[in-house]
Amino acid sequence: MKLILEKSVKGRIGYSLPPDLFEDIKLEDCIPGYARHKDKKNLTEVSEVDVIRHFTELSKLNYGLDDGFYPLGSCTMKYNPKINEKLASLGNFTYAHPLAPQETTQGSLEIMYNLNKLLNEITGMDEYTMSPAAGAHGELTGVLIMRKYFFDQGDERHKMLIPDSAHGTNPASAAMADFQVIEVKSNLNGTIDLSELERLMDEDTVGLMLTNPNTVGLYDEGIVEIEKIVHSKGGLLYYDGANLNASLGILRPGDAGFDVVHLNLHKTFSTPHGGGGPGAGVIGVKKKFIPYLPTPIVDFDSVKKQYYLKEVGPKSIGMVRSFWANFPVLVKTYAWILSMGPEGLYQASETSIINANYVLSKLRDYFKPVYDRYCGHECTLTGKEYKKYGVKTLDIAKRLMDYGMHPPTIYFPHFEPYAEETIMVEPPESESKEMLDKFVDTMIKISEEAKTNPELLTTAPHKTPIRRVDDALAVKNAILTYDDELSFQKK
């Protein structure tokens, strides 16, 4: 379909502005010539109706969570409650200026304050910062806190242990904090190899970044020993909260000895992904790390009876963003927790774990599990059996689209030698048994198609708005704006 820039008709407008009542003021008198653009910058010229039609049409090319099954592993694509959207967009919140006097923003501050208390209880931590804008931003914040802590102890450490199954953001975040990344191999059970960990963990190592259940969807059975090994060398445990949806009311990371945790509020806590954010990656710490949190945090002044933004102090790692938080995401999180209550949170994790194990047990004969054991809230299967028919996991994923479903996460995790051609299915608590049965039946059907008509898969999808995409050409041509001389349109 055409770009909105290609729909321009000279003279059309889509905006509404008050009349210019400042006739006496001349632009030339305000802005010097050297800084002024000589004419109007060309964007597009379209009406409001054109815009409504264009973006409505565009939206229909997307597949959203409300359209159907969205079992992306490690992404927790759970239902985004509608009431939460309404509450987050109350005018008193959305029009609040971040630097308005704090007596005018008591409501916003109270939300942040209350949410901190709830998250502490849910995860067993002592204090949260609401600053980080996303999971990876939280990771960076977390590892900087760990770094500063060691620096202050006069114990500069240079290495960070990261499991081979970890998200790519973990090593990338550690590298941004200038740590040397040391990979910890998984054992035959798909979890941390304890003897390997013991060998690698030394007094130059900051600690271990761990996801639990890990990115294969498995609870680490060695968690008690892991904690001992890391802490015995003075190291710290970092918890990647991407998979917290398996742990609500079951296992609090704080109780398992984690020192620093990040939570992806856009995963476990039901806030929407928005096509890749904005989410929030809040960081929780144990007491002794509170002085290192990014500044500021919210506190309550019991004398003035007022919430306020408190400077963290001289040990703080500093600011990690402008202003305070991705605020509406916090409102939605707060609303979700209040709607669920303690039983609801437990049920969310219980149901998601049952869902994942159900899918695993139903599909195990068709798509071999990477590890043959009960899983957490997601299960990792492989499509490698179908390679002999010339079908890759990618083809299976694309074929799933023809049946009206979003594919699971594929080719992740992809560490050798166990995990190859992986299909990671995360069916969160908001998915019903009927939906899972439909998914299972579809996957079985596709497994048959792979044997009898592999071409149907290798050329899939067939029923989506567009067909399979030439990634290599995109890299080769590097057409990154409409005006590029190489533009396909102009050829």
């Binding site: 992404c75 005018t104 916003s108 968690i223 303690p342 995409v469 990634d471 409409y482």
Partner: protein, 447 residues
């Protein structure tokens, strides 16, 4: 629970199918001593109605911000946002979908991002545009790290008139790399070019200058670019109030190497500080060192033009610790918001809103000076923000403004502890303040 469809009966059936007798059998691998026993100590579940009432009550502890006209900006600007934008954005297909890794199911998001990249390229004359880093401050951190990689140098010069939160964030991002940060003083409300001339040398990776700067002043970017480039450094230009791009020269024309733009003014709500979004522009030759996601044009199997996330070999999910950044989830929905905003405003609208901001800010400044209650602090050209020194105590002034439904201007001394900035206010004026509003402000402050 209405968000969890499976009934207890269904769960039992599923457990049976799995081959276990209870849920406990599935989680036996979790050591018993770590298990949380009993209920979490959080409030019992609220019904939807109770929830709405509760949060509405909390929201009411804020003032009625919609009716309060802001005289403050300082990195967050209230502009008119067309209702059509807000309406379209809430379509679930944009709102609830995942990062567009599967282009066959994500052309809406992908094309929208490509359109935004094109708009920003036109507005800034930068060849390549990364559409989304979390915000201007974190984008500065990313831009500086990129400059260190490109130049293999480890010093940066930063104008003191960079937004203080951006400067603090920059320090946080650079701290692990032991980068020397040299602060460039200001003169008459603009970066001091004489000192820049004396300070710059071949060891400097980048010079970071915001324009319009934190005091509102429009910097002499062309001269700065010349100075910076003579010593082989990169120029990082920061735009915090993007509406200024409607009338100001494009940074690309000044030969800026890396542009960091806060996109908040392009149709994003204030939201008490976030989520905003930042775009990052650069020259094609630096493409491979860019952090973050980018969308490119290609074709599908049928030969149709389609869009896809591209140049991915820089990213964390592929390169892990060798990636150009750790960024993964960014602020893509805000990219679509800004794209819709820029489409609605269009060529004429963006120019007009930019013009209106300039004129109304200059109108207010002029009247306040004429009132005799304020005087200029610096003699500099500005866009829609300016400093004025008050003859009356600014705390009293701000109280009066608040009582009259205006969010008061920023007390600049809160950020710059300098004697000459005591009792000085940083005013911001956008198109949401009518001429009548501005006259009212003058009237209140002249009493």
């Amino acid at each position: 629970m209405r968000y969890i469809p499976n009934t207890e009966e269904q769960k039992r059936e599923m457990l049976k199918e799995i081959g276990v007798s209870s849920f406990e059998d599935l989680i036996q691998v979790i050591p018993q001593q770590l298990r949380w026993k009993g209920k979490l100590n959080i409030p019992e579940a609220l019904s939807e109605n109770e929830l709405e009432e509760k949060i509405d009550q909390i929201a009411k502890k804020n003032v009625d911000f919609f009716s309060m006209k802001p005289l403050i900006g300082a990195g967050a600007y209230r502009h008119y946002i067309p209702e059509a934008e807000k309406f379209l954005l809430q379509r679930e297909e944009f709102w609830t979908c995942y990062t567009p890794y599967q282009p066959e199911l994500s052309q809406g998001t992908l094309q929208s991002i490509f359109e935004f990249q094109s708009y920003i390229s036109r507005l800034t004359k930068m060849e390549v545009v990364i559409p989304s880093i979390y915000d201007g401050a974190s984008a500065i951190g990313e831009a500086a790290l990129m400059a260190l990689r490109l130049t293999h140098k480890n010093k940066v010069i930063v104008s003191r008139l960079l937004h203080p939160h951006y400067l603090e964030t920059l320090k946080t991002y650079l701290e692990p790399h032991h980068t020397e940060i040299i602060e460039l003083p200001y003169l008459e409300g603009l970066s001091n070019l004489e000192i820049l001339k004396d300070t710059i040398n071949n060891e400097i990776a980048a010079v970071i200058v915001q324009s319009p700067n934190f005091f509102g002043g429009i910097e002499r970017m062309a001269e700065i670019a010349d100075l910076v480039h003579t010593k082989g450094s990169l120029l990082i230009n920061v735009i915090v109030e993007s509406i200024a791009l409607g009338i100001l020269k494009a940074p690309g024309e000044f030969n800026v190497d890396i542009l960091v733009g806060n996109a908040q003014s392009f149709g994003l709500d204030l939201n008490y500080g976030g989520p905003y979004n930042a775009y990052l522009g650069t020259k094609k030759q630096y493409l491979r060192q860019l952090p973050g996601r980018i969308v490119g044009e290609t074709v599908d199997l049928d030969g149709h033009r389609v869009f896809v996330m591209t140049m991915r070999a820089r990213e964390q999910d592929i390169r892990r610790e060798k990636a150009t950044s750790n960024i993964c989830t960014n602020h893509n929905l805000n990219v679509t918001a800004s794209n819709i905003y820029l489409s609605l405003m269009g060529t004429e609208g963006l120019y007009q809103v930019s013009l209106l901001n300039t004129k109304s800010a200059h109108y207010l400044e002029d009247l306040l000076i004429k009132s005799g209650k304020f005087e200029k602090v610096f003699n500099y050209p500005f866009f829609n923000e300016f400093l004025l020194k008050s003859k009356e105590d600014i705390n009293i002034i701000n109280k009066k403004l608040l009582q009259n439904n205006f969010i008061p201007p920023l007390k600049i001394y809160d950020f710059y502890k300098e004697n000459n900035l005591k009792n000085v206010l940083l005013f911001a004026v956008t198109e949401v303040l009518s001429k009548e509003n501005l006259n009212k402000v003058v009237q209140i402050l002249s009493e």
